[in-house]
Symmetry: C2
Subunit: 219 residues, 2 copies
């Protein structure tokens, strides 16, 4: 009924809440697929292995989207979450590093579906430049990063280079005006405070599994 809160101080919202909103969005989309029109936080929690109080609290930071005694309208909730996350407008992505991961991400549905669009894949290795990725995107020269970023209105940079190149590439991305960076290189890169950097080290997850396996031997 009440819709959005007027003065959400973004700084006070935890990263964890934002990550969960992403998850809720996937859940709500699955409910839409199977034709569910209304859902309570408890129902959502049971179906998807979540916590109902947490769902309510996460959503309540942004507004009053539910109806007491009833629950949430699924279609409306989807739209609210899309707007909160800024997924109602296009985000243009530039990938630097045309190795296995970089070329895979070009065509990964999460990266090239909905309102995300990969507008270029760059590499500095001359043997890769001009080569087509599996789905036909041409790899371009990383030296042209700034030019390409501006020309194609890229907003998000994705680093899929080896560790040694990650910081220089990050610096170039910042000076090219990219405003957010997703770094897959196994090193913590730094940027100026007005550019958001997220590092995703896939190997960490494997190593967590390794720790668990090595410390829970079945008797």
């Amino acid at each position: 009924m009440v819709a959005y809160k007027r003065h959400v101080d973004v700084e006070t919202i935890s990263d964890l809440t934002i990550a969960r909103l992403s998850i809720y969005l996937r859940c709500v989309e699955r409910l839409l697929d199977i034709g569910v029109e209304t859902v309570s936080s408890q129902d959502l929690a049971q179906r998807f292995n979540l916590n109902s109080a947490q769902i309510r609290k996460d959503l309540a930071y942004f507004g009053e989207f539910g109806v007491r005694g009833v629950g949430y309208n699924v279609a409306e909730l989807r739209q609210y979450v899309i707007e909160i996350l800024g997924l109602d407008h296009e985000h243009r992505i530039l990938i630097v590093g045309a190795g296995n991961l970089g070329t895979a991400l070009c065509h990964y549905s999460g990266f090239s579906g909905d309102n995300f669009l990969v507008v270029g894949v760059l590499d500095s290795d001359p043997s890769k430049i001009g080569v087509a990725t599996p789905a036909g995107l041409l790899v371009e020269d990383a030296a042209r990063l700034a030019e390409i970023a501006e020309q194609r209105n890229a907003e998000i940079g994705v680093i899929t280079t080896p560790a040694a190149s990650a910081q220089p590439v990050c610096d170039q991305m910042v000076s090219a005006g990219l405003r957010a960076i997703l770094n897959f290189a196994p090193i913590q890169v730094k940027a100026s405070d007005d550019v958001l950097v997220k590092t995703v080290d896939l190997k960490i997850h494997l190593e967590e599994l390794s720790f668990y396996l090595s410390n829970s031997e079945v008797e």
Copy 2:
């Protein structure tokens, strides 16, 4: 000097600590590359943008690896962390889902380097079976999961299928005896309590960037 603690209750160690040990390992390896022999927690923290008290606390859960007044021996510390994380022996990985991400991970250095080894890539799509991945691994029939897992002593399963297949594949992995699962499908999969499941949803990270971009407009 003192080396490992004898009775570390693994249950009491936070996932966050384990994830950071992974990061410390990368840092220490970089120090080895540039010939640093001894490092203090403060030095480590400054170089890699970490917190020195946290480094000391994380390490101290597992033993007393440092020397007061001096710091940590870099080579020794590397070896300690490798052993804590169980990276001193091989882990055999079976990937199910030969799409862009699955085939990329086969040859991703993090997944096929050090003591991790991809022993198979499976898919249920007949048009993919028998096809070679970019680096020459043949895609096999997902129906043979149990057989292949046992034959090749696979221990870790990686799910890179679409969301709809993730839970059935997870179930098969569990009954095939895999003991840990890394799930890249955008859905929370469930397994029995003795199998560790980690879900990594790459889209979440992009959506987090989208949120910050949409809520931090430059004036």
